[in-house]
């Protein structure tokens, strides 16, 4: 991340300095402003979902969901950590239901929980699965196409499903291969 950030920001700043030096400050402040706007709207999502997830946690609701998925998550993520398993199970469930906003807080809690075990394998795997998107119903684009008077707004459902499965499969395969190489080098 440091390398990517450094390269992009220096190249961009250099071009702006040459082409439009008076714009430099406004551009950067615009970025900062956008970060606060995003934080605002993110807070609204997180506030309700993290409030709800705490209720689910305290009442044992998510423990039930986790128990059903546990044999799977335990093997795939190579973790015995019960709390982490619980959060991972909720994350996967939310993703499949297409509730992306709810999935994120669970993933973050799982990542923090896994940090205690120094289980970077599971952290990275969880990131990969979430960053390649595993939603079943692409509700945003279907809504967009409906409002644009599409004749069959949901006809992208099948290609989307194939693509999202494909992207996650490719990412996980690549990760497992590189992970094996890394282990062998040690």
């Amino acid at each position: 991340m440091n390398v990517i950030f450094t390269v992009i920001i220096i190249a961009s700043l250099a071009v702006i300095t040459v082409a439009a030096p008076d714009k430099l400050l406004t551009v950067l402040m615009g970025g900062a402003e956008r970060s606060l706007q995003t934080a605002f709207s993110l807070f609204c999502i997180y506030a309700l979902w993290m409030g709800l997830s705490r209720l689910a946690e305290k009442s044992g609701f998510s423990r039930g969901a986790a128990r059903a998925l546990k044999p799977l998550t335990k093997r795939v993520f190579r973790t015995e950590n019960a709390r982490a398993n619980e959060f991972i199970a909720m994350n996967v469930a939310c993703n499949l239901l297409g509730v992306g906003g709810a999935a994120t807080p669970f993933a973050v809690k799982a990542v923090q929980e896994l940090e205690n075990d120094k289980n970077t394998f599971a952290q990275k795997l969880l990131f990969l699965i979430n960053a390649t998107s595993i939603q079943l119903i692409p509700s945003t684009v279907i809504a967009l196409r409906t409002s644009a008077n599409s004749a069959a707004p949901a006809d992208i459902f099948l290609p989307s499903l194939i693509c999202t499965v494909f992207s996650t499969a490719v990412a996980v395969t690549l990760f497992l291969i590189t992970d094996k190489f890394r282990r062998r080098r040690r």
Binding site: L28, S35, S59, G98, A152, I156, T178
Partner: protein
Amino acid sequence: MTAYIIPVIFLAVFAFAAYKKVKIYDEFSAGVAEAVKFTLSLIPCLAAIFMMCEAFEVSGLSDGLTKLLSPVFGALGIPPELTKLVLIKPFSGSGSLAYLTEVIEKHGADSYITRCACVCFGSSETVFYISAVYFAGLKNKKIAAPIVIVLISTFLTTVLACLLCRVM
């Protein structure tokens, strides 16, 4: 049908918590307190990344890269109209959504370009944002390899999406 999923989940969790005699008000606010802390911990990363994105866009480098890569993408079956979408999606969810809306308006809701764009948009995520959120509080920041893996698989998926939209 899908409209019922979320309300039912909410209702079920609240009802179940009440049944289990959880102090709902206390615990719910405690959850929101976690959200406050979490959102605050994100702001530094978000600010840095958004400044980078703005600078990248305004400097014209992103347009330059779009022009440069269009022929390459074209050779792989990705229409030139989608080059920009493919490039900005990993950086900005709202930016790519705005561009997607533009594509839909310009090419119509049922054109090949629009369907391609929708499938690409629906099957990918804003990788850099997610990485910032997930790894914000961690000491181990060696996350370059996973990010590269995600970018590669997202790109391959784009190629597949453009192919699928031709036949489906």
